[in-house]
């Protein structure tokens, strides 16, 4: 079985969010970059767990980005990917990125394509669905559990206020979230092995962008907390009722 895991580079969860160039670019100076947590902890680690259960599983990684994404993809190889492809292009919008991933996947013969449920920078939650549509594959989103049973994928997905179990034929695109796998860290053997694993750089396929970011904005700062004495908590209830008018 061949699994394609989509990897995105994102700022660390604690990175300071600021913008430059008249608020049109993310201020990346001094920012620590990580594998998007949903791609790493859930999609990639689940693929690795499946490979540990069935050694015939092959894990291919794909990312869309410049050479500055290489350390991220090497880390993903160190965790347990077999080989990686980097599409050498700066992501413009989600449709452009999905088109690149679909381009890589089109003749790869993949049984499963796994993505994180969203990235923690753009939060579009769009790549999985777009890739599935471009390749005319089925798509199960927000999965919390994924197993193979007799050649079919059994997926537990989140629905509004609950969960649903469904069975899907391959090939299939799945977006992964918490519950899928336990986060792990690369060991020294993995890190050494990753150095010699293939990382192929390919040119982008022609693809359009359907949207463009005009500018970024930071939310207005809160006016400051109104502290209420611990001796009079009923005052909080009065304020929520009379001032904020929400209870």
């Amino acid at each position: 079985m061949k699994i394609l895991v989509c990897i995105s580079k994102t700022p660390d969860t604690t990175a300071k969010i600021a913008f430059t160039d008249n608020n049109t670019k993310f201020a990346s100076e001094g920012v620590q970059w990580i594998i998007n947590p949903y791609d790493e902890w859930y999609a990639l680690v689940r693929a690795i767990e499946m490979k540990e259960k069935d050694p015939t599983v092959q894990i291919q990684l794909v990312t869309v980005g410049g050479a500055d994404a290489d350390p991220i993809i090497r880390k993903a190889l160190a965790l347990g990917g077999d080989e990686a492809i980097r599409v050498d292009a700066e992501g413009q919008d989600s449709f452009f990125i999905a088109s690149q991933i679909a381009g890589v996947a089109a003749d790869g013969g993949f049984d499963l394509i796994l993505t994180g449920k969203e990235t923690i920078d753009h939060n579009g939650a769009s790549i999985g669905g777009m890739v599935a549509e471009l390749l005319d594959m089925d798509y199960v989103s927000l999965a919390v559990k994924l197993d193979m049973e007799q050649g079919k994928a059994v997926v537990t997905r989140e629905i509004e206020g609950g969960e649903e179990i469904c069975e899907a034929v391959l090939p299939l695109v799945v977006s992964c979230q918490k519950g899928m796998a336990e986060a792990r860290i690369p060991n020294m053997r993995g890190i050494m092995a990753a150095r010699s694993k293939p990382l192929k750089v390919v040119v982008p396929v022609p693809a359009a962008s359907l949207t463009s970011i005009q500018s970024f904005e930071l939310p207005l700062a809160k006016s400051g907390v109104k502290l209420i004495s611990a001796d009079h908590p009923e005052e909080l209830v009065r304020l929520l009722h009379e001032e904020a008018r929400i209870i």
Partner: protein, 320 residues
Amino acid sequence: MSVLIFADQSEGHIRKSTYEALSYGAKVAELTGTVAEAIVLGPVLDSLSGLGKYGITKVHHVPDNGLEHMDARCYTAVIAEAVQQTGADTVIFSNNITGKAVAPRLSARLKAGLVAGAVSLPDLAGGFSVRRSVFSGKAYANVSIITPIRIITLNQNAYGIAESAGTAEVLNMTISSPASRLTFKSTSKVSGKVPLTEAEMVISGGRGLKGPEHWGLVEDLADLLGAATACSRAVADAHWRPHHEHVGQTGLAIAPNLYFAIGISGAIQHLAGVNRSKVIVVVNKDPEAPFFKAADYGIVGDAFEVMPKVIEAVRRLKAN
């Protein structure tokens, strides 16, 4: 030209997040000088003509039984056909689970630009630009859609429901859906509780509550207010509470009118999931807890002393 709003339903009932999307879509139609129409898939129990109250002129209903379960591939095929039949140039979804699954597929199918997680009405000065939430709620991006057909998914609790008098014309639409290749085995719902992402008020507990046996403080207040309950990551990881209650960067992102955090320090990863809440209340005994910087109201004090008094005061308020 028209605005087509996908009216999401669950077990025959239109969802609350859909009313927000309908109200938003009606306003977009008004701004762009056109009409707002809705599309409903699968069997429904609610009166669809009633959607007129939210500014909808026509409801297109595709009543097929095969559409009861959400299969993104089938929903996309049907909605794409409906877009063509109605001539819609703007399609709106709630950014809920169905919207997140279907809107990207529809975008790729129609080559229609998608703004996912919109928090504002479109700005039509010099194009069609919509503000969306990015960096896990820590910033916004103004994104312009540069295609003839536009798709927007509206963040939950980002636009108020607007009701007025009105009746929509309900039309049955015949569109054959491709056969689903998914087999649905079972569905489990947490019954009787408000879904966290739809809740207007959320009461949440953290490690400061010291153990699952103290969750009565969270639940009593939630019951009195009709609020949903949530927790921090540490609490879910310690199995004090189920994972589906975890809000934060790697859990659910929510935007209720009231987020009431008890014994949660407010690490940046937690804030990422709740910083779009309208009013944040923090009860924590540590005055240095970072959450106070993001809060509107706060009490520095021991939750075990403070919360029973808060609950009592709410009970008195509700009794009056």
